[in-house]
């Protein structure tokens, strides 16, 4: 039995259907992410799990028991809010003690568990500070400690890293992973950042307009997106309109009206004449100064239109013969050489025939 189960969950706000028939199962100890653009319904789902909002249809079950009618204060789930919502009039220790006091724990136990929680988030020396004396990252850690200290069945996190600056966000990501592994409590994490979702989660549900588009492990989501939306939303990708011209057991012949023939592979049975997009990750596209003799079937001539030198990698935008644009990501792995091509250079772009995926419309 899954720890938390959403069954045909639906929520309407007037004429707007914010959540449409969503069914998901979250296992104990899992780091589960709801990913999607703003307004996709992910926060509404989180609020319904926490109990701040009630579904119009469907049910939420914890350990197989419906949570319908159970108020938020009676649910064994805690939330880390986007704004942290730390109590400004309580010290760090006071904030962390709050849920323990609410559940009627004895004073010595509260003291012990607050101490443990502070240790867990490396804030032992800040126990007597007040929230306004803390940095963003420290507030974040207090909010996490407060959410975890009373050992909820599930911790809900609503864009908790959104307010942090880029460098701190990356640091907190590693901390979150370590923390979740250490406490073994299931996390339901809401974010609009695909990078965050990929880095943190065991599984991700990609949402759009109140529906789950795909629910999968991060690498599956990235390499085998279910449709054009998921491909485009998760990571950078080249999308090329194609028609299927040939289909054998694994080999797929595609025809792009602008680019010509593309060789691809697919294990699914696909009929000749089907239309869709060919989705190709930039890091799988190679850019060369000369026509390579390698046996890459997909090779097209173009010109570098723009490049972004990012240090570790360079992001090229290559304009192909008929004005079509392809993005490519090349690691700057040669010692002493910053980049290989300049804007205006004539280049060849190529990729292996198993590099991209065909997505039906």
């Amino acid at each position: 039995m899954p720890l938390l189960e959403l069954r045909n969950l639906t929520r309407r706000f007037g004429s707007l259907e914010a959540v449409k028939d969503v069914s998901l199962a979250i296992e104990a100890g899992e780091f589960f992410t709801l990913l999607g653009p703003s307004g996709c319904g992910k926060t509404t789902i989180l609020r319904m799990i926490a109990g701040f909002d009630a579904p119009d249809g469907g049910d939420i079950l914890l350990d197989g028991v419906s949570l319908a009618g159970v108020p938020p204060e009676k649910r064994p789930l805690h939330t880390v809010f986007q704004s942290y919502a730390l109590f400004p009039h309580m010290s760090v220790a006071g904030n962390i003690a709050f849920p323990l006091e609410m559940s009627g724990k004895s004073a010595p136990e509260i003291r012990r568990r607050v101490g443990e929680a502070l240790e867990l988030v490396h804030l032992t020396d800040k126990a007597d500070r007040f929230p306004h004396e803390l940095s963003g990252g420290q507030k974040q850690r207090v909010a996490l400690a407060r959410g975890l200290v009373n050992k909820p069945r599930l911790l809900l996190l609503d864009e908790p890293l959104g307010a942090l600056d880029a460098k701190l966000r990356v640091e907190m990501q590693s901390e979150l992973i370590a923390l979740q592994r250490e406490v073994g409590i299931g996390f339901v994490f809401v974010t609009h950042s695909q990078q965050e979702a990929l880095a943190l989660s065991h599984r991700i549900a990609v949402m759009r307009d109140g529906r789950v588009e795909q629910c999968d492990e991060p690498d599956k989501l990235y390499t085998q997106p279910a449709n054009r939306f998921v491909a485009d939303f998760v990571g950078r990708i080249n999308l090329i309109e194609v028609t299927v011209t040939s289909s054998s057991k694994v080999l797929l012949g595609l025809q792009s009206p602008r680019l010509g023939d593309i060789a691809a592979t697919d294990l699914r049975p696909i009929a000749v004449g089907e239309r869709g997009v060919f989705a190709l990750r930039p890091e799988l596209v190679r850019v060369h100064g000369h026509k390579e003799s390698a046996d890459l079937k997909n090779r097209f001539q173009g010109r570098v239109r723009a490049l972004l030198y990012l240090g570790d990698v360079t992001h090229y935008t290559v304009e192909l013969a008929d004005g079509m644009v392809l993005e490519a990501l090349m690691p700057n792995a040669a010692p002493g050489r910053a980049k290989f091509h300049e804007v205006g250079d004539a280049v060849w772009v190529c990729w292996r025939h198993d590099a991209g995926v065909f997505l039906r419309d």
Binding site: E73, K74, F81, A85, F87, P88, F98, P99, P131
Partner: protein, 273 residues
């Protein structure tokens, strides 16, 4: 900002305060140390050697003055507490109502100010008279509470309106029921509002003489009535001045005490006040 601009901004209000607050206060201090004139008021100034603490000695010599001062403080305290009890639910309801209706409700709170203070007190005479409550302590308290209630509602509302609703959700999420959420979150965070409201009610009530005079009986006079009597009826200006100084010192002492308590007890709440 250039220092010239800074002075140009600071100077006018400073001059105003010096001319109409500091100087008069010093005049009152000086007046309390002088002698009564032959026909009341002040005797002609006869140099520093003529200054006397006779007025203060007189105040100390009769317990009635201490008693009236104490009663004034008790009446002010009672008025303040009643104002808090009445204003809190109202301010909370206004702060919780939809945004577009809040301005209207605040307008209704301050609407009584549109009519004259004395007119409103006379209205109370007409209300309390037939009920047989006029010229009683109850009438005085009712009048004082009525007059000062908006001064408690407004700072409380301003404070409550700024509370982050996420804090209450967080408290609820962490297991607090409605009662606990109020006492552990809303109430402590509203203390700055309660304190500013209390200051706006308590201090003016101490100096109030019109309400006790119009609504109260002979036994209900407050320190404000006493001061007014000394200046206008008895024409004993040194004694009136001495009473004013005693009152001012008491208020300043209380204010300092409150500020000290607030600094110790309200750690953290300044973030939202």
């Amino acid at each position: 900002m250039g220092s010239q601009v800074k002075w140009a901004v600071i100077l006018p209000p400073s001059l105003f305060l010096v001319a109409f607050f500091l100087l008069p206060s010093l005049i009152v201090v000086l007046a309390s140390l002088r002698e009564t004139g032959e026909f009341g008021g002040l005797a002609p100034f006869a140099g520093a050697a003529s200054l006397t603490i006779e007025a203060y000695r007189f105040l100390g010599g009769d317990l009635i003055y201490a008693e009236i001062l104490l009663r004034s403080f008790l009446v002010a305290a009672l008025t303040t507490v009643l104002c808090i009890l009445l204003a809190y639910p109202l301010a909370w309801l206004i702060a919780r109502s939809p945004k577009q209706r809040r301005d209207l409700l605040v307008l209704l709170v301050i609407l009584p100010f549109a009519s004259n203070f004395l007119v409103r007190i006379y209205a109370w005479i007409m209300i309390l008279g037939p009920a047989g409550l006029l010229y009683t302590p109850f009438a005085v308290i009712a009048g004082l509470v009525y007059v000062h209630l908006p001064f408690m509602i407004l700072p409380l509302y301003t404070n409550l309106e700024k509370h982050d609703p996420a804090l209450l959700e967080a408290a609820q999420d962490l297991g607090a029921n409605a009662w606990t959420r109020f006492w552990r979150v809303t109430f402590p965070l509203s203390l700055p509002g309660i304190f500013s409201g209390a200051a706006l009610v308590f201090i003016p009530v101490l100096g109030m003489f019109a309400v006790p005079e119009l609504l109260g009986g002979t036994g209900d006079i407050l320190i404000g009535n006493l001061i007014k009597e000394q200046f206008l009826d008895n024409r004993d200006w040194p004694l009136g001045s001495a009473l004013s100084i005693v009152l001012t010192v008491c208020v300043l002492f209380l204010a300092a005490l409150a500020a000290w308590a607030a600094k110790r007890g309200l750690h953290g709440t300044e973030a939202i006040s």
